[in-house]
């Protein structure tokens, strides 16, 4: 049998495992992104009203990004061991939420800040309340850029999610880690391809969501 045929055979046998791990991966990344959006978008909006806090938080989030993921996991193990959650889903989830914050907060903040001052002025001058202005004018106009930030975070997290396997959080990283340990190239190749495909599919899907959420009037500018 050729290498390729053997690999097909491998896929056949391990399909249930691959599916399970993919679901785990998607669940981990999906949940982390959901929480990251719930924190990052409101925070980004709030920061537009507080210049001082904005520079502090954006800087902190930038520093966060420069910490290698493996190191972050390493730090979290002893910290979370206190509540007996040193390894597994929890530290991986927290790390992914933290990593997502920079693109989400920064894009939200910048997008809201960049709403044309004339447009904002008109919204206030015509008598919109703060919440009305936010939901009827500022967020819709900032939507393409906010979505771009979320898209970046998702693709990035699918990649970082691989490392989560090292601390027992499951996901497609498991195949790669075990492949390395057992020097099994089928495992490594399959895991890598699955992760890449997942990232590409997520990006394309989110691209359509982004288009769908972008107000029609903005289409030519984005």
């Amino acid at each position: 049998m050729t290498w390729f045929q053997e690999w097909i055979e491998f896929l056949n046998v391990n399909l249930p495992l691959i599916v399970d791990l993919t679901v785990e991966h998607v669940a981990l990344v999906g949940l982390a992104i959901l929480v990251a959006i719930l924190i990052g978008v409101p925070l980004g909006i709030y920061l537009t009203t507080n210049e001082y806090l904005a520079s502090t938080i954006l800087q902190a989030a930038s520093i966060m990004m420069t910490i290698p993921s493996i190191a972050l996991f390493g730090v979290m193990i002893p910290l979370l061991s206190i509540i007996n959650k040193g390894i597994g889903f929890v530290p991986a989830f927290i790390a992914l939420v933290l990593y997502s914050q920079l693109p989400i907060i920064r894009n939200t903040y910048t997008a809201i800040k960049n709403v044309d001052p004339g447009v904002r002025d008109a919204a206030i001058g015509l008598g919109m309340k703060t919440v009305q202005r936010l939901f009827r004018v500022e967020i819709p106009n900032a939507m393409p850029v906010i979505m771009a930030g979320i898209r970046t975070a998702v693709v990035m997290n699918i990649g970082i999610g691989v490392i989560a396997a090292f601390i027992g959080a499951g996901g497609l990283g498991v195949m790669i880690v075990q492949g390395i340990v057992r020097t099994d190239q089928y495992l490594i190749v399959t895991g890598s391809i699955a992760v890449s495909l997942l990232a590409i599919i997520a990006d394309v899907l989110l691209g359509s969501v982004q288009k769908w959420l972008t107000p029609k009037g903005l289409e030519t500018n984005s």
């Binding site: 008109a122 919204a123 001058g125 009827r136």
Partner: protein, 330 residues
């Protein structure tokens, strides 16, 4: 009616943008705030709908201090138009125009009717633009939509900050003319910011000329042209104020003062002007043709007489040189 009762605005860092300003805009008038850049026009305007706070003094709208009114209600009851039009890019033209009615909770049918009325008023086809977006419109069309939006809830008072400032001269003039027509119908009390003396003369029943936050002169356009109160005003109005003043007078005024010339049938190719044409345009017609006279007609095309450059000069002399004080400028 809008009353400014000794209004002062000091920004952070001790910038006195408006300094003890007092005047009243009568109901149904257009009052133009005029002056060089940075003299405080925008600041003064924005204190009316409380986009800026008032440091000292009081602004009353129909006798009520704007401080005593709810900010949101106050703003919804005042039409607001700005230079950069500020249309909402994410909303259709219909949504833009009816944004204040939406905030006020009007029902769909009433909003739709209002949209139609307003678009017709500003000269845009309601059906054609309903589903379009601001970026698909030209600058002039956007500004018309901006005016329609400001008029949507039929506010008695309008604030307009250089509404036609960003347009090319031809479009600007057309929108000015159209707006004068609209104002004849709607009769709003309007505060209109401009830094262009020609626009101020054309649009204003009254002009408030400002400098460094203070009022230099508050008068009718012709008073400002004919009797500038001080050196600054006459310099701002310009050396050609005599010519500018011509745009305030029509051929009919000239006819009343000095009469028209006889029609000389032997002269060919003479152009005609309407008796209601202003003298500034009449003068340029005269200067742009071979013949030295133009024929004056009434609204039915009936020939009434002729006007020559000499007539205009004599009228000018009578109106300005004799009614104005001796000017100190060279």
């Amino acid at each position: 009616m809008i009353t400014f009762d000794h209004v002062t605005k000091i920004y952070e860092g001790d910038v006195k943008a408006v300094d003890d300003v007092a005047f009243t805009v009568e109901k149904g008038d257009i009052c133009v705030l005029l002056g060089p850049s940075g003299c405080g026009k925008t600041t003064l305007l924005r204190m009316v709908n409380r986009l800026e706070s008032i440091t000292e003094g009081e602004i009353r709208i129909n006798g009520k201090s704007n401080r005593d009114l709810d900010t949101i209600e106050l703003r919804r009851s005042i039409g607001y138009v700005i230079q950069s039009n500020g249309l909402f890019p994410n909303m259709t033209i219909e949504e833009n125009v009816t944004v204040v009615p939406s905030l006020l909770g009007w029902d769909r049918k009433k909003k739709r009717e209002r949209y139609h009325t307003l678009m017709e008023l500003v000269g845009l086809d309601p059906a054609e633009y309903r589903k379009r977006y601001p970026h698909e419109l030209s600058g002039g069309q956007q500004q018309r939509v901006g005016v329609a939006r400001a008029l949507a809830a039929d506010p008695p008072v309008m604030l307009m900050d250089e509404p036609f400032g960003a347009l090319d001269p031809i479009t600007r003039e057309r929108l000015q003319d159209e707006f004068i027509q609209i104002q004849r119908e709607v009769k709003k009390t309007i505060l209109f910011v401009s830094h262009d003396i020609d626009e101020a003369i054309k649009m204003g029943n009254k002009i408030v000329l400002m400098r460094d936050g203070k009022i230099m002169q508050h008068d009718t356009p012709s008073e400002i042209l004919v009797h500038p109160k001080n050196e600054f005003v006459s310099r701002f109005v310009g050396k050609d104020r005599a010519i500018k003043n011509l745009s305030l007078h029509t051929v009919e005024d000239l006819q009343k003062e000095i009469g028209l010339g006889d029609i000389n049938e032997t002269i060919q190719d003479t152009k005609t002007v309407n008796i209601h044409q202003d003298l500034r345009n009449t003068l340029s017609t005269l200067m742009n043709q071979e013949a030295e006279q133009v024929i004056v007609t009434d609204d039915h095309g009936e020939k009434l007489g002729t006007v020559t450059i000499d007539h205009v000069q004599r009228y000018l002399h009578l109106e300005i040189r004799e009614k104005a004080p001796v000017s100190t400028e060279g």
